[in-house]
């Protein structure tokens, strides 16, 4: 098991390395000098308020005259110490901005994962047990919606129904349960659909096995058979999917936070891209990549724990 964990850790490192290269390289892939974005160069290319000697001074101070590998090494060393530089626009450290926005996004992702787990598993189990009935087909239609609807549109529809027409829940903002429900559901719908289909397929497959017939033959009640015997094996692929889904939710948060005007990291990312606030963009890219890799790692490890066969292959 320890070897398995070590190998997965080793595999995560090159991915993180590449993510850091991309985050760093971003500044140099963008047409124009990073300093232009910082001091504000007009579209015509003329430097606004900044005098040339000041630009040169800033360039020297930021170490932009050093060779690229040196700059990259410095960026990585700083990043590893939790220093992603300062936002051009907000004039604050990127890390403090990230940390300020993090709770809102995490709250959304966790709430959404809970909803996905509860509804996805529940609907999937019901669909499998009521295989080929009206209920099963209804659930399949619901899950088809989750896969085909753009999540931002589903969010808009939720606002339309629950805030505009029914006036039950507030439409936008962060804080409080009532402001969390709609975005969490909107964010989770696709995940609910995927988990439902997976759980249904997985449970149906397990229910066809011989050991289930044996359990029934022993005279065990239906529920004992399903919960104690069938679920245990049917859950393995679903748990992995749930973990992966959590990572995807973080990405989906970008859109959902915009729909519901929540002050999270996703919204911060859009702001940063629109204002060309590159240190902030870099920080967010590397940070979210790191979180995603970490979540994947945890999923892999827990999967290895659940399914011993995987540790060897």
């Amino acid at each position: 098991m320890l070897k398995f964990v070590a190998r997965r850790l080793a595999e995560a490192i090159p991915v993180l390395f590449l993510a850091s290269l991309i985050a760093f390289g971003l500044l140099y892939l963008i047409p124009g000098d990073p300093i232009d974005a910082m001091v504000g160069v007009s579209a015509a290319g003329e430097v606004g308020l900044a005098r040339p000697e000041i630009v040169a001074q800033i360039r020297q101070d930021l170490g932009l005259n050093d060779p690229l590998p040196v700059q990259y090494a410095r960026w990585v060393v700083n990043a590893l110490q939790g220093d992603f530089g300062k936002s051009y626009v907000q004039r604050r450290s990127v890390v403090s901005l990230l940390l300020e926005r993090l709770p809102s996004t995490v709250e959304l992702a966790v709430a959404s994962t809970l909803i996905v787990a509860l509804l996805g598993l529940g609907l999937g189990i019901i669909a499998a047990l009521k295989n080929n009935t009206l209920i099963d087909n209804l659930i399949l239609v619901i899950s088809l919606g989750g896969i085909s609807m753009p999540n931002f549109w589903f969010g808009i529809l939720l606002i339309l129904v629950f805030s505009v027409f029914l006036g039950l829940l507030p439409a936008t903002g962060s804080g409080g349960y009532e402001r969390l429900i709609l975005p969490a559901v909107a964010l989770g719908y696709e995940g609910i659909a995927l988990i439902t289909r997976l759980m249904r397929a997985s449970l149906l497959e397990v229910l066809g096995r011989e050991y289930i017939t044996t359990a029934h033959a022993k005279g065990l009640s239906t529920w004992v058979v399903i919960i104690r015997h069938a679920m245990r094996n049917a859950l393995i692929p679903v748990v992995t999917m749930l973990g992966l889904q959590f990572g995807r939710l973080l990405a989906g948060a970008v859109v959902i936070e915009t729909v519901f005007a929540r002050q999270g990291i996703g919204q911060l990312a859009i702001q940063a891209i629109n204002t060309k606030d590159f240190p902030l963009v870099q920080g967010i890219i590397f940070f979210s990549a790191a979180i995603f890799v970490l979540v994947n790692l945890l999923v892999d490890i827990s999967y290895g724990y659940l399914d011993p066969q995987l540790r060897i292959s």
Binding site: L16, P150, L157, L160, R197, G252, V254
Partner: protein
Amino acid sequence: MATLIPSSESLERPQAASPAAAASNSQPAITIHTSVSPWRRSWWRLRRNRLAMAGAFILICLSLVAFTVPTLLQINPYEQSLRDSLVSPGSAAHWLGTDHLGRDILIRLIDGARISLTIGFISVGIAVLMGGLMGLVAGYFGGRIETILMRLMDMQLAFPGILAALVIVTVLGNGLTQAMIAVGISSIPKYARVVRGVTLALKLSLFVEAAQCIGASDRRILLLHIVPNALGPVITLATMGLATAILSAASLSFLGLGAQPPTAEWGLMLSEGRKYMRVAWWLAVFPGLAIMLTVIAINLLGDGVRDALDPYHRSEKE
């Protein structure tokens, strides 16, 4: 499955079937032995799939309307008429109502279909060509080039969903073309992985070895022997990918990073309509419906294509 097509059973084993068939029917063997390609057989399977055909039908109608109506009827999606702003749907002049600038929603949706389908096809094209090439090269030649290419593809692991497109848009800037390229590039890894996998398996197969033995060039082997065999999985992926591409592009436009006003792009229309949601619900409903209809149609077709090209793969239902 094959039993439903009477002719295919015998055609699968022409050598074995021919003497018997010729003897019993006393017909010229040639008429029976016009060989039926696997593609043909997949096409038969696809045609029998009602859901897939429904999806294809919707898609064809949509494309016809999207690409002919704007030129034939000379409609103008940008025509404003402030006196007719926010007309509710169901009026004789504007079936689906108008937006805050009095622009006809139906006309804008039709123009949006043209935009969305174009974006979808072009970005999938980019992804298939580049991803396919990378997968072929990585799988066939192996070695260091494979390591480098596949490590690059691993990046997708760190940038799930729309994040990759977001990073690329940061570099390229906002706009419809940029969004199209971003969506295309961000889905390259999917194709590269699949093509590499198929290529790796085919490289070791007997017929490729035979081709190598008679001195066929690498290019000839790749193009004539490997590409045709890798085509099936790629077509399946590309059909599904079309739906994803349309969704991603609409999301980018919704975020203000794709199409810019006044373009009649569906995602952008939703983003603009959202502001008037409290007085004009239709602005927030119809463009989304259009996206959903398109995506469902493509997914139905995609499921059918997968089952047709790979009959041994069992679809989720059943």
